[in-house]
Amino acid sequence: MIPIVMIIFLPLLLPGIINRSKAIMAGRKGQSIFQPYYHFAKLLGKDEVVSSTAGFITRIAPLIALAATLVAALFIPMGWQKSVLGFGGDFVLVLYLLALAKGIMVLAAMDSGSSFEGMGASRELSFTAFLEPAFMLILSALIYNGSLQSLASIISWHSINFHEVWSLISALLIASALYIMLLVEAARVPFDDPNTHLELTMIHEVMILDYSGFSLALIHYTAALKMLIYCSLISNLLIPGSFFWAPLIYFVLLFCQLVSIGLVESLMARFRMNRNLELVLVPVSISLLVMAALIARTLGGW
């Protein structure tokens, strides 16, 4: 029950916390933490302007993306060991749902007929081409020596255990790979600047330039929900064992991740577009490393 409430009400708080930490770093007051909620409420009351060259995909894309991401979120453990839904091998479904959400938005971007959105779509897909295999490799590696389990149990099985050096290393490695994936998926610095006003440099924002009103509100919510999914995976991975205070630690870790995103955004410049691809290969290499190590461990048995 509680995770469902969290899935509905928590996502919009995440960009608010990131913006607040950026504002504190900059030495100004900044927006309120609840500003994304006010923004959402305002957008609900606006009309929609749809371009005459757009087809039906533009209209249905935000709804499909939202639905896919919501269902995917139901399989993610959030602070408790169990997720709302779960079955053996459900991580494949989660991956495909997230890919569906992204794919439909990319199609809608190309549907609009604007050259910027086409460029943004191609950049987006070039990153996805590397990140999805990395995600799949990591999760496959984690179930290598067990039977096919649900995502929640995989994560809790491999979450940090301070008594075993091996689990410490693997959890940290996987968390860092997921962190880089989070930065790419959430369109944060150093991959993309969420506040940029330069349409030639945008990756994610350029795909939503043509949306307004209710569709735009849904898109903001979906993006925040995707951020919550990745942050939850990282947090759950770093919760030691079956701790009694797991939910509390979950929220603390969530908060720390958001503040760290704000810090990275304030202190680092954005990468050149061709360097982005280099960095996106890091999760791939980490996943290969983890996979190889887990196989070796099973075969070598230490």
């Binding site: 030495g27 007051k29 609900l44 606006k46 009309d47 735009l216």
Partner: protein, 243 residues
């Protein structure tokens, strides 16, 4: 690394605590006061933009050059009050002896949904770049209009209001109309700076087209050359939330 830390520490907390009640430097020419017995004819002759006439001083034309004040300091004085914005063109005309300008200048309120979130789209239609820089300064660390939920957005489809700067050259007219058409309702038009409100110093040029600003309903006028960020923020926040 250490230079960065030192620079950040010296930077401190830069935001003006309350932009609506800030004290601006005494030298700033803000709300004008015309004395009751002012010789309007003599003042009108020296004004480069014909802002002074029998009815008084038109803030929509005034570029705050100070010529009238230097000519006759007894008749015209500009107070250091940045609360210049108004919601109707008639209110911008300061009559001789008028004392109550900022109190009654903005009485419209935006619908409730815009109380805490207001998105602006700027179109620079031949502005000289001073108004654009001042609008950009509104989102910097000092003025920080983001704290009121006001932001400048990248696409007109995301915006609630069009904030126009510049007198509108004939070459920008078409682009201006298509940007306005792309803004979803409810939408509002805000004119920032003397050039946007009346054409300013370019009003007599034959390369200027004023039909956009004169035909559409304008929600807010922000005088100035350029409009000071405090004036812009005060005008917008009063529209959003009242006093």
């Amino acid at each position: 690394m250490f230079e960065l830390l030192k620079a950040r520490i010296l930077h401190g907390y830069q935001a003006i605590p309350d932009p609506l009640k800030a004290k601006i430097n005494q030298a700033f020419p803000g709300v004008p006061r015309l004395s009751a017995g002012a010789d309007l004819a003599a003042l009108a002759k020296c004004c480069p933009v014909n802002a002074i006439s029998d009815s008084g001083l038109d803030l929509g034309r005034c570029i705050f050059c100070g010529k009238c004040q230097r000519l006759d300091p007894e008749a015209v004085s500009f107070e250091a009050d940045f609360r210049l914005a108004a919601d109707s063109r008639e209110k911008l005309i300061i009559r001789p002896g008028q004392q109550d300008y900022p109190e009654t200048s903005i009485q419209t309120r935006l619908p409730r949904q815009f109380r805490r979130s207001f998105a602006l789209r700027n179109v620079s239609a031949a502005g000289c770049n001073a108004c654009e820089l001042e609008l950009g300064a509104c989102s910097n660390v000092n003025f920080d209009m983001g704290r009121y939920g006001i932001e400048v957005v990248a696409s007109p489809r995301h915006a609630d209001a069009l904030i126009l700067t510049g007198p509108i050259s004939q070459n920008m007219e078409a682009a201006l109309y298509s940007t306005w058409d792309a803004i979803p309702g409810p939408r509002f038009l805000i004119l920032s700076g003397a050039c946007a409100i009346s054409g300013g110093i370019f009003a007599e040029s034959d390369k200027i087209r004023r039909s956009f600003a004169s035909k559409l309903t304008v929600t807010l006028y922000i005088p100035g050359c350029p409009a000071h960020p405090l004036s812009i923020i005060h005008g917008l926040v009063t529209l959003m939330r009242g006093r």
